[in-house]
């Protein structure tokens, strides 16, 4: 029932993302209307769908892997690592083609995840996980700024600003495909890991005794998360908090199963990002807000609530 509601809400949000604001559409010549939808709104809606779903699915998988509901691609430095990879590729190496950006981004995300695993260990305590993630994010952020400062182009900072804050605007269908196809592949393969991740919730040793290769499972989750998140960051920049929030809602649909939550988390993540993008579009501000700002404005207070809630639960 709740799953059906989720699908309906997702379909509505996707339709709204294509059609809203509506006022303009009626007055247009059909040819212009068609190109407006195909060249502007469809890529934007598809990117919101793919990026949100990737963040949700990756968040769910990473949370299951670290056995910690506070693990997510942004809090653990994966998105920052991906952003660093893309910035270095674009501004220091001078490769601006989408495929080069994607590769740089995925490599950056992989590096950040490998560093996290080395620092926090496979089954991370919340404090270790968040501190390691903080350190990786700070390092990647500083290196990103350094890369932009060293870039030959004097406009590097200005160019990169909107992208770094996360943006779905003015992307082509081709760019949407460069983010979306790896994202769909990553999500599809993450879904196959769901049963193993569920059994991992019995403990790493029990999962091994049940015949799961936990080392290989860990490697798969990290590579697929890096692939999906990296490809999306390369096109749309870093968008925070969706990967944290979506799995937490999704697990309410799966009676707490962390692995089974990957699919609903992808749906919730897509819905959240579509709605955040609608908020960006419909907000009467005159200027377009970066979507990363909107997700952070909603997500950060939620994160604070979560931390306080967990502390109380641990204390009681």
């Amino acid at each position: 029932m709740r799953a059906a509601l989720l699908l309906v809400a997702l379909a509505l949000a996707f339709a709204a993302s294509i059609l809203l604001p509506f006022g303009l559409l009626g007055s247009l010549d059909p040819d212009i209307l068609w190109s407006l939808i195909v060249e502007l709104r469809l890529p934007r809606a598809l990117l919101a769908l793919a990026y949100g779903a990737t963040l949700g699915a990756s968040g769910a998988a990473v949370q299951a892997l670290f056995a910690n509901p506070l693990a997510s691609p942004d809090l653990t430095g994966t998105t920052s690592g991906a952003a660093l990879g893309a910035v270095v590729t674009a501004y220091l190496f001078g490769f601006a083609a989408p495929v080069a950006l994607s590769i740089g981004s995925v490599v950056g995300a992989l590096g950040a995840l490998a560093l996290l695993l080395a620092l926090a260990g496979p089954k991370a305590e919340t404090a270790t996980l968040l501190l390691s993630g903080l350190a990786i994010s700070a390092l990647a952020g500083a290196l990103t700024t350094l890369a932009l400062a060293l870039a030959p182009s004097p406009f590097a900072f200005y160019d990169a600003y909107d992208w770094l804050m996360g943006s779905l605007i003015d992307r082509s269908l081709e760019q949407a495909a460069f983010a979306g196809l790896p994202a769909v592949l990553a999500i599809a393969l993450l879904l196959r890991l769901g049963p193993a991740l569920d059994r991992l919730s019995l403990g790493e040793e029990v999962a091994q005794s049940l015949g799961h290769d936990v080392t290989r499972l860990r490697l798969w989750v990290i590579c697929l998360t890096a692939l999906g998140v990296g490809a999306c960051v390369a096109i749309c920049g870093a968008i925070g908090f969706v990967g944290l929030v979506a799995p937490i809602f999704a697990r309410r649909l799966t009676r707490g199963h962390p692995g089974r939550a990957i699919l609903p988390a992808a749906l919730v993540g897509a819905l959240l990002l579509l709605v955040a993008d609608l908020a960006v579009r419909l907000a009467p501000l005159g200027r377009t807000l970066p979507i990363g700002v909107v997700t952070a404005l909603i997500g950060a207070p939620f994160f604070l609530w979560l931390v306080a809630h967990m502390r109380w639960r641990l204390a009681s």
């Binding site: 919730s201 019995l202 403990g203 040793e205 005794s209 015949g211 697990r251 707490g256």
Partner: protein, 231 residues
């Protein structure tokens, strides 16, 4: 012969053991802290990359995937922590068994989240997770820890009854030497990562544990070793 394992070892751990367990046997594994009881259970359960030969009814369980493994062997770790607030019924099902496993009187607990259960209740749910697939070989690490005295007795009797169904055996790491004596067909004593003795009657038991039997009780025969005073 049901289980036959030789020259088992684990990377990075001081551990080397060979063991045979016959059908219908309930074997207790005793030894001081750090003597390798858990390592032996890990090696047999295929945890932490064990090397060595192992056959359970002619099959190396390490070659079995997640679908068939729980029917061959299950492992209960000493920890009772569960990271996610799963419902007890779901947790048992994740282990590959049927949640209607009735022997541990779980009816009242099955639909509760494991994080809302007491430690003893959670132990019973986790034990049910290991028992419910009805494996050929049960590997249990301190199964009676956290259980009240009645449940300690009932659990050991339940394991005995499960083994009595034929084609099964159990290896149980336990610190309670009296319980081991009472329930085990055979007692294996471990020391420094190796199997040091069988049974609790040999002269070396006092040497291994630093305790000896005094009538109905155990008493210390030497002060606990102080690592700083050793040469």
């Amino acid at each position: 012969m049901m289980l036959e394992a030789s020259n088992l070892s684990l990377p990075g751990r001081l551990f080397d053991a060979s063991i045979r367990i016959a059908e219908g046997e309930l074997v207790c594994l005793v030894g001081p802290n750090g003597s390798g009881k858990t390592s032996l259970l890990h090696a047999l359960a295929g945890i932490a990359g064990p090397s060595g030969e192992m056959r359970l009814d002619g099959i190396d369980p390490r070659t079995l995937g997640p679908a068939r493994r729980p029917g061959f062997l299950t492992y209960l770790p000493a920890t009772r922590d569960i990271a996610w607030p799963l419902v007890a019924r779901d947790l048992i099902a994740l282990g590959g068994g049927d949640a209607s496993f009735a022997a541990l009187e779980l009816d009242r607990l099955l639909d509760r989240r494991v994080d809302t259960l007491s430690t003893g209740e959670r132990s019973r749910v986790l034990i049910a997770r290991a028992l419910a697939p009805r494996p050929k070989l049960l590997l249990l690490d301190e199964p009676t820890a956290n259980l009240d005295p009645l449940w300690q007795i009932r659990l050991m009797e339940l394991v005995r009854a499960e083994i009595g169904r034929g084609g099964r055996a159990a290896l149980i790491a336990i610190h309670d030497l009296d319980a081991a004596s009472r329930y085990a067909d055979r007692i294996i004593v471990m020391r420094e990562g190796r199997i040091a003795a069988e049974g609790l009657d040999g002269p070396q038991v006092a040497d291994i544990f630093g305790i000896e039997r005094d009538g109905a009780e155990w008493r210390a025969v030497r002060a606990p070793a102080d690592p700083r005073s050793s040469p």
